[in-house]
């Protein structure tokens, strides 16, 4: 039951991203904070010291600042596939805010769900996939069963029984020889 309730999906690559050129899937990010409240203290610090570096490094992401009076600080990330994610970061240190921003930047916008293993290849082998007839002779398609020739036991070299029997006969002959010598 729970297996069906937990959302699961195959690994996805939106628009085959990175095959041609890599397009950052985060299209805009909004930092919401209060100018006076204590909960936004570290967010203000982050904006002062780290935000410029972030926007310079990622010119493809539109950055907005939105001061809201007496509200908890948060980050809103909007992705190219239309997905929007909000993170509330009250009393979080600037270093932690940096990490969350980086986390949002590197995501593809596909929701995080349990992965299903996709056993799949874009380039199948030249031999083709295995099938039950792979090493069978095509002659069998027209033979009538039961077939005497095909039913006969295939003998390839000595079997284990043969080896033991051989050993026994050898031992017997040697024993006989030994007895003969003693008798003399």
């Amino acid at each position: 039951m729970t297996k069906n309730l937990i959302p699961q999906d195959f690994l996805k690559n939106v628009l085959q991203n990175g095959v041609g050129r890599y397009v950052c899937q985060l299209q805009r990010i909004t930092f919401r904070f209060c100018k006076s409240h204590g909960a936004s203290r570290h967010m203000r610090d982050f904006i002062e010291n780290h935000l410029l570096g972030f926007s310079q490094k990622n010119p493809g992401v539109a950055v907005y600042l939105q001061p809201r009076r007496h509200r908890a600080p948060s980050i809103v990330a909007e992705y190219l596939n239309g997905y929007r994610e909000v993170l509330f970061l009250s009393d979080k240190q600037p270093s932690e805010i940096c990490k969350w921003t980086e986390h949002l930047r590197t995501r593809s916008g596909v929701q995080i769900v349990k992965m299903i293993n996709n056993i799949h290849t874009e380039t199948p082998s030249t031999q083709g996939i295995w099938h039950p007839f792979m090493f069978t002779d095509t002659e069998w398609a027209v033979t009538k069963f039961p077939n005497k020739k095909l039913s006969s036991v295939l003998k390839t070299g000595k079997t284990a029984t043969d080896i033991i029997l051989d050993e026994q006969t050898e031992a017997l002959t040697e024993g006989v020889k030994h007895c003969q010598i003693n008798n003399k």
Binding site: L15, G20, Q27, T123, P124, A141
Partner: protein
């Protein structure tokens, strides 16, 4: 009023006394002594009202406060790693319906259009140029990648790639959706696909043919990955085509032979048919009846002759394609022509022998 103030003061005094008493034991702990019964009622009421009013109206992204069109346009170019001229890329996002609307607005205000400089130009011209480039380049690239594939097949793949649904999908995922200026909302797939063509046109205008072709190769052609290209082209009579192709390359006519079978007269029946030419196995394939297996084997043989088997080497894309030399004048063989030639020759032979 005064009574309430007095009461609240007395309450405050009591509170301070209480806190003074408790602070010795726990400084930070404040116990919660209510069950939020009013909040519960409030939320229930809000829920009811939301059901009555219905869902929130879908709005354009530009209606929200955190929106700056210029910075969005700048980010669009940077995101794709292209350097656009600002006026060109802005024009690429203007749809003709938007221009008409603006004109109508000005006319409504009683402004004379002749006096004012109305410099809005829609993207139809850019889109036309972009569409031509996409179409040409996709065909040239495919012809060079699959030199033995028939022209009909090339056209089928091309149609799949430049279809409205595919181009609108690409346009949406490179971030055109919010930037488009058009009358229709939510933006129609046709508008999205036209915008993508216009963006290609803008690259062509600002950065030249080569960069525009790289743009197409990076965004349109990767959509073929994990797509079965043989399925895109529907061959009606594979055995007929196979006969003609084998005759063309100087091989004997195809001979289907049953290789293996299993579970005949059951619902799990399985037949493997191989196709031979000059006593050499060309291809084999399974099927639930002999006729299906034969047809599938013929398709498999065609795949082998066209060198589009499942195990073909992957397309040359991305950085590996930087030094790719394409022959722009390459022409692939047409299946219709091959068939026509083969059957006209057959006819001639028959009349000669009769």
């Amino acid at each position: 009023m005064s009574a309430s103030i007095v009461r609240s003061c007395a309450f405050a005094q009591q509170m301070t006394l209480m806190t003074l008493r408790t602070c010795a034991t726990s400084v930070y702990h404040v116990s919660k002594r209510n069950y939020d019964q009013y909040r519960m009622k409030y939320l229930r009421e809000m829920y009811k009202r939301r059901l009555e009013v219905g869902p929130e109206k879908e709005r354009r992204r530009s209606e929200w406060i955190n929106w700056n069109y210029d910075s969005e346009i700048f980010a669009f170019g940077k995101r794709l790693g292209e350097e656009f001229n600002e006026t060109t890329i802005k024009q690429a996002f203007i749809h003709s319906s938007y221009v008409e609307k603006e004109r109508a607005k000005r006319a409504e205000l009683g402004l004379n259009l002749k006096d004012l400089t109305f410099d809005l130009e829609d993207n139809s011209e850019l889109a036309e140029k972009g569409a031509d480039l996409i179409s040409n380049y996709v065909k040239v690239y495919l012809r060079n990648m699959y030199p033995y594939f028939f022209e009909e097949g090339i056209c089928a793949i091309h149609n799949y790639l430049v279809s409205e649904s595919m181009l609108s999908h690409i346009a949406k995922h490179i971030g055109c959706g919010d930037l488009i200026l058009s009358e229709d909302f939510p933006v129609l797939p046709s508008t999205l696909s036209q915008t993508f063509k216009a963006v290609v046109g803008a690259v062509l205008k600002d950065r030249g043919q080569e960069k525009a072709e790289t743009f197409v190769r990076d965004f349109v052609l990767p959509q073929l990955i994990s797509k079965d290209i043989n399925e895109l082209w529907e061959v009606v009579n594979p055995m007929g085509l196979l006969t003609a192709v084998l005759a063309l390359i100087g091989k004997g006519p195809p001979e289907p032979r049953l290789l293996w079978k299993s579970g005949a007269n059951t619902i799990m029946a399985l037949y493997w048919v191989g196709i031979y030419s000059d006593k050499q196995l060309v291809a084999k394939s399974p099927g639930e009846t002999v006729t299906i297996a034969e047809e599938m084997a013929a398709r498999e043989a065609l795949k082998k002759l066209m060198k589009t088997e499942d195990s073909r080497s992957p397309l040359i894309l991305g950085r590996m394609a930087d030094n790719l030399k394409l022959d722009y004048k390459k022409v692939n063989m047409s299946a219709a022509e091959v068939l026509k030639n083969y059957y006209s020759q057959l006819k001639k032979q028959n009349t000669a022998s009769a």
